[in-house]
Symmetry: C2
Subunit: 105 residues, 2 copies
C-alpha cells in the first residue's frame, strides 16, 4: 500500500512512469514488488509512490541524475525492463524531472 514519500528538501529528482498494462498478470505483480524492493536498496533512492486505475502512475524519487542512471542500468532492473517492453505494458512514458520545490500538509 503506497504512501506519500518522505523526501528531503528540494532539489532532488523524480522519475514519473505512466503506463497502460496489457491483459493478465503474467508475473507482473511479483516483479513490480521486487523492483520496488530493489530500487529502495540503490544509492540515492529517496522514495516511491504508486497508484493504478486504468492508468498506472509510479513516481520514484532520487538524489541525483547519476543515481537514476545507475538504477536504469542495474542488471536485474534491465531484465524487468525488457519484460515490460515485451509483455506487461501496452504503452508507457518515462519522464525524468528535477523537483524544484514542494509543499503540503
Amino acid at each position: 500500500m503506497s504512501e506519500i514519500a518522505k523526501t528531503p528538501d528540494p532539489p532532488y529528482y523524480a522519475v514519473i512512469f505512466s503506463s497502460h498494462r496489457t491483459e493478465g498478470d503474467n508475473g507482473y505483480t511479483e516483479m513490480a514488488e521486487r523492483m520496488v524492493e530493489l530500487a529502495s536498496e540503490q544509492p540515492g533512492f529517496l522514495g516511491i509512490e504508486s497508484a493504478r486505475e486504468n492508468l498506472g502512475i509510479t513516481v520514484s524519487y532520487w538524489a541525483s541524475l547519476e543515481a537514476i542512471s545507475n538504477w536504469k542500468k542495474n542488471a536485474e532492473h534491465r531484465a524487468a525492463q525488457r519484460l515490460g517492453h515485451r509483455q506487461w505494458y501496452a504503452r508507457f512514458r518515462v519522464r525524468v524531472a528535477k523537483v524544484e520545490r514542494d509543499y503540503g500538509i
Copy 2:
C-alpha cells in the same frame, strides 16, 4: 478515464500532487472533474494524468513556471484548494518539477 498525456518535447514542467483522501465524497468528485476541465482551459496547460488506489497521484504538465503560478492563483481553483485543505485531504504533497527528458512506447 485518465490516459497518458501527449506532452511536447522537454523541457516542460510537471506538478506532482500526491494525496490521501478523508472519508466520504463531500463534493470531491464533482469538484475534481471541474478542476480538470478548468485547468485544461488555462494558458500553458499541456496535459494531466491521474490514478488513485489508497494513495492518489495526479500529475499535471505545464509549459512554464508562470503558467503553474497563474493556475495556482486562479480564483475558482483557490476556492477548491481551500476546501481541499479543510475537507478532502488528510495529507497531500505538491512537487513542482522541470521535466528534462522523456521516452516511451
